[in-house]
Amino acid sequence: MSLILDHVNYSYGDDTALSVHALKDVSLVIPDGQFIGLIGHTGSGKSTLVQHLNGLLKPTSGAIYYNGEDIHDPDFDKKKLRSKVGLVFQYPEHQLFEIDVFKDVCFGPKNLGLSQKETELRAYAALKQVGIADEYFYQSPFDLSGGQKRRVAIAGVLAMKPEILVLDEPTAGLDPRGRDEILDQIAKLKEETGITVILVSHSMEDVAKYVERIIVMNRGSVLYDDTPREVFQHYQELEQVGLAAPQVTYIMQALAKKGMKVNTTATTITEAVEEILKAL
């Protein structure tokens, strides 16, 4: 169930002088079951890229293949693709509209033409997956707290049973507690169901803890595509494009420069503690 982007280019505003080349020759393979972090600062093209994954935007040139099929082929069922590649937008709670939480989560599966029973089963399962308790099911989504609203909105996409879940800055505007809850929930979901998760973020620190692969976007191109360990080694280059490696990387580099024998590839606190203790 892989997704392949083959030399994708995208530009908008072509008919005006202000034409913007938002994606430049992006080629990526997204295999089954990976946990991927997509990093880039505002305007790097990461949001444009994720909208290509479920066919909301069409590449100006290049192609996108889902299971070997060109998603912009006239015979290709786009609606089905949208259920298979679940896209959760920034501030997804802004899309809630139903009178209660449960009905809102039913919206997605209902649009897929599923039976009432199947729809409700899926909605129930999705709400459980994001950790929303039964007592909230028949409350208005607008009465929930910020973090809860966001989880309901994510459940709305999960209820479509996607194989690839793309989350565009799922922690934007949340406090540390809300952020940890959401990210832990997503990690747990990944663990339990084995779906592919693409986490779009501009925070390296948030992502480093969870993902196995990091794709760094800069000015519409892929700058790095590797494991967090390898990507953070380029911390100086990352800084030049307005990003930063986690603080741990800087600490390890500074210690190494002062002559301490530490492995500079440590990316988490736990790893760093072990390294420093060894060196002392």
Binding site: Q51, N54, L56, K79, R82, S83, G86, L87, V88, F89, P92, H94, Q95, L96, F97, F107, G108, K110, N111, L112, F142, G156, V157, M160
Partner: protein, 260 residues
């Protein structure tokens, strides 16, 4: 009508009040004159203004596209339905001499009207237009018209329209990602499909309104009383000359109507 076209010109620099008054006078003049000479005068006046504004002519014509249908209907109705001396007859339709005359006149009037008002919106920022309107309508305050409030509402609307349009696009995409279909189906189905778009949009608009009201109060906003202006409108020499030119043009039109 055209969006503001940025350039430096005499017309751009004029006080918005002058441009508002001129536009109104020009529209009235189109209905005052009823002779070919009058239309030539109006055409010359308009052409000179366009030339002075330095806005390319194609931007004026852009505004015409929107009313092309109305224009056609008006022309067709006048052409065939005006009684008078028959000119051409085919099948059951007759074109009369009077019909032809009225149809052409209407077409000219409407196109001049659109081009004339486009010229105003192309050379004046929405902001200074609101300012101009507020100042012009100021006397209405004494008959309890909330002039300042209306102007403030207009400028807030102008500021938030692009934001809400962007938001509409975002919500629409989010719902499409959840399998919503905004395109297919009959009218009722389509209307129903709008609910997932409109509810979040309204909620967002209310939230923004609430935030904005709080932010305005926090910055000491308390209505039009006691307020000073950062950019007060002031007439300059050019504006006085413009009024004079306008007066000459308008009295010319009236004179043509009376004496010709």
């Amino acid at each position: 009508m055209g969006q503001y076209y940025q350039t430096e010109s005499v017309i751009h620099k004029l006080d918005p009040r002058v441009k508002l008054v001129a536009t109104i006078c020009f529209i009235i003049s189109l209905f005052v004159v009823d002779s070919w000479v009058g239309y030539v005068v109006a055409a010359v006046f308009l052409a000179v203004m366009i030339k002075l504004s330095k806005v390319p002519f194609r931007f004026m014509v852009k505004g015409m596209k929107a009313i092309v249908m109305i224009l056609m209907i008006t022309v067709v109705f006048n052409l065939f339905l005006t009684p008078g001396e028959p000119l051409v007859t085919f099948w059951k339709l007759t074109i009369t001499k009077e019909g032809l005359r009225i149809a052409v006149m209407m077409a000219v009037r409407l196109s001049f009207l659109i081009v004339g008002s486009s010229l105003m919106t192309l050379t004046t920022t929405p902001n200074s237009l609101t300012d101009g309107m507020e100042k012009l309508m100021n006397p209405l305050k004494y008959v309890k018209v909330p002039v300042h409030e209306v102007a403030m509402m207009m400028s807030i609307a102008l500021r938030f329209i692009p934001i809400l349009l962007e938001e509409t696009d975002k919500i629409m995409k989010a719902q499409i990602a959840r399998g919503a279909d905004f395109e297919s189906g009959n009218l009722i189905k389509k209307a129903k499909a709008m609910v997932p778009l409109l509810v979040p949009l309204f909620i967002s608009a209310f939230r923004r309104a609430n935030d904005l009201a709080m932010a305005m109060e926090a910055r000491c906003y308390r209505g039009g009383e006691h307020r000073t202006k950062m950019k007060p409108l002031q007439y300059h020499a050019a504006d006085r000359i413009a009024y004079l030119v306008l007066l000459v043009y308008f009295s010319g039109c009236v004179a043509l109507r009376i004496y010709l």
